[in-house]
Symmetry: C2
Subunit: 359 residues, 2 copies
């Protein structure tokens, strides 16, 4: 039956990672990632997501000046080989296993890009590897880098130096399709004028990294491009000595803000999301867990329960996005960009003028 709509149901997993200590070798980290992929295969998972900077420790919270030490955390890439990481010893075993098991994956890593002129730029990056394409089919570079360019002077302070080690992402929010994930997807050559193709092609995915999830400006571009699933990896500090509250109070608040941001992003754009943590106590610094798979109504359908390596799995129907897109979040009918100018035309907060005392 040529007209029978293809099922848009896929099985996905968040591969939460426990801490990667500074002392951990790349090989030992990869071994844990491969083990989680084997477990995923046993559960018929088709797409597995690993966290932000999965291949190393979360180095941006350490102040380093030794360029060789810093370089050791990065993977090379260039226009000639934008997905070079996939053939590096640090990820090749992952690719081989993915091909063998038929599982696509998302993974975050630090990317050192060499331009045509030999210049180098460092990004906090993630890629999507497609088994059907035998290559990466999507790359995203973190736009909303948190933290500072220079360390805080207090030697006891917790440091967050992503703005020192990385350049803000320059690729924007590019949705992409993942071939082969579902059977019977409508292809470009199948479509004749007048045929409605929305929600019938290869799944449309988008990617975010960590702090991006707090910014509605990062989710909306994906919603507008028809993304059905956002994948987002994170390393989120549970507490810092210079912030208010006990470590427990701070961690509760950090987890609350994480859930709130991911659930709002999914709901307001009527899409699924996989949100996956690197967590636990890494080099004496606590990172939150709470890996989540969230439906297009913003409801959590799977959540991690540990602070270590853990696979959470859900079978998700991408078709569910359509219900909200036809009603509450029918963008065409309800959005009013003529009133959104300030979102683009002003970067920072600018208070409106003070009143005079005559009022």
């Amino acid at each position: 039956m040529a007209n029978k709509p293809a099922s848009r149901t896929i099985t996905v997993a968040a591969a939460q990672l426990g801490p990667n200590q500074k002392s951990a070798s790349r090989e030992s980290i990869l071994e844990r990632m491969l083990k989680l992929m084997d477990e995923a295969a046993s559960k018929r998972v088709q797409l597995i997501a690993y966290p932000e900077l999965a291949l190393t420790t979360f180095f941006p919270i350490h102040y380093m000046t030794d360029e060789d030490e810093i370089a050791g955390y990065f993977e090379p890439a260039s226009a000639k080989d934008p997905y070079a990481v996939l053939s590096s010893p640090h990820a090749k075993t992952l690719v081989d296993k993915a091909n063998h098991l038929g599982i696509d994956f998302y993974v975050g890593f630090a990317e050192r890009w060499t331009g045509d002129d030999g210049s180098m730029t460092d990004f906090n990056t993630c890629i999507y590897y497609s088994v059907a394409a035998r290559n990466g089919v999507g790359k995203y570079r973190k736009v909303h880098l948190p933290g500072r360019t220079e360390p805080l002077p207090d030697p006891k302070a917790f440091q967050q130096l992503e703005k020192k080690y990385f350049t803000p992402g320059d690729l924007g929010f590019q949705a992409f399709r993942a071939p082969g994930l579902i059977q019977g997807a409508l292809k470009a050559e199948d479509v004749e004028p007048g045929i409605e193709s929305q929600g019938k092609g290869d799944p449309i995915l988008g990617m975010l990294i960590c702090n991006d999830r707090r910014w509605p400006e990062a989710w909306r571009p994906y919603g507008l491009q028809g993304v059905e699933l956002v994948i987002e990896g994170y390393n989120t500090t549970a507490w810092a000595p210079q912030h208010d509250g006990t470590p427990e109070e701070q961690q509760d608040l950090a987890e609350f803000h994480h859930r709130l941001s991911c659930q709002a992003g999914s709901y307001q754009n009527a899409l699924w999301s996989i949100n996956v943590a690197k967590c636990g106590v890494e080099n004496d610094q606590g990172l939150i867990g709470c890996s989540l798979i969230i439906d297009p109504f913003g409801r959590i359908v799977a959540e991690s329960t540990t602070m270590g390596d853990e696979l959470i799995v859900a079978t998700i129907d991408l078709q569910m996005c359509q219900a909200q897109r036809n009603r509450v979040f029918n963008f065409e009918k309800h959005r009013r960009p003529e009133h959104y100018d300030i979102i683009l035309n002003q970067v920072g907060l600018r208070e409106i003028p003070l009143l005079s005392s005559s009022l």
Copy 2:
């Protein structure tokens, strides 16, 4: 001490209203509103918020064709008297009591605007009345109108016809200052070059109505203008026969989406919000309650517990907005509008192109 910073603590209330049946007179509705204002005064409230379309039944869910019947729900306004409603018999007693008790208020109503050329335009509007100014100091017209312009053909279907009865708001999202709410606010004439005035003037407020709260594009303009408190009134359908799930399931989901939207909007813009319902069973249609006062960290600090007339009160420190504005949501440091183009330049969802079968 001229340099002692003024306390930015104020006491605010959400005056949740139970149902306004079609048969209820304006006088009987006003009587209930005045009673809530008296209760507010006894609790030293300085600012009280009434819901969307507080003065009437929630008429946009009824299909009407009689122009006189429709006109009966509207309040007049024009360039000559933009706050005409305040001197109408339908709100004058509210103004008199507000002046007597020293309580500012927010109220929603249907506004029929007569232009200079005699043309009439209808809006779903709210205003902010300032006792210190003895006038309205802010007006907002609902931008994100839900529903349809024409009724659904099924006579048993629940109707939502705001797009029939109202024109989308044409005022955008204009923040304003509320004079007199706090003592010692910095005034325009106090400021010399080089003096940091942020967070030291009269409180900066913004207003939304109902469905607006689901749209991050409606909150962000206020965050960018330094708003410390958003006030939002709503009438939100708990269930409809044509939607999935039992009435109870639908109501649970509607309440969840309401909380999620209001908490995310407050958190992501580091501001307080008052969200106030008209609720209960009105003309056989269930409306959700859950009036909320939310802090700049997205936490609920007060919530209604009934489905009728109820006052919830909180003493809030506007200074709390600054902590998040200096850190996670320091817009100047972290926002990247160069990647937000699509938010302004595209209205509806447009799926990215299909892949060809060669992939």
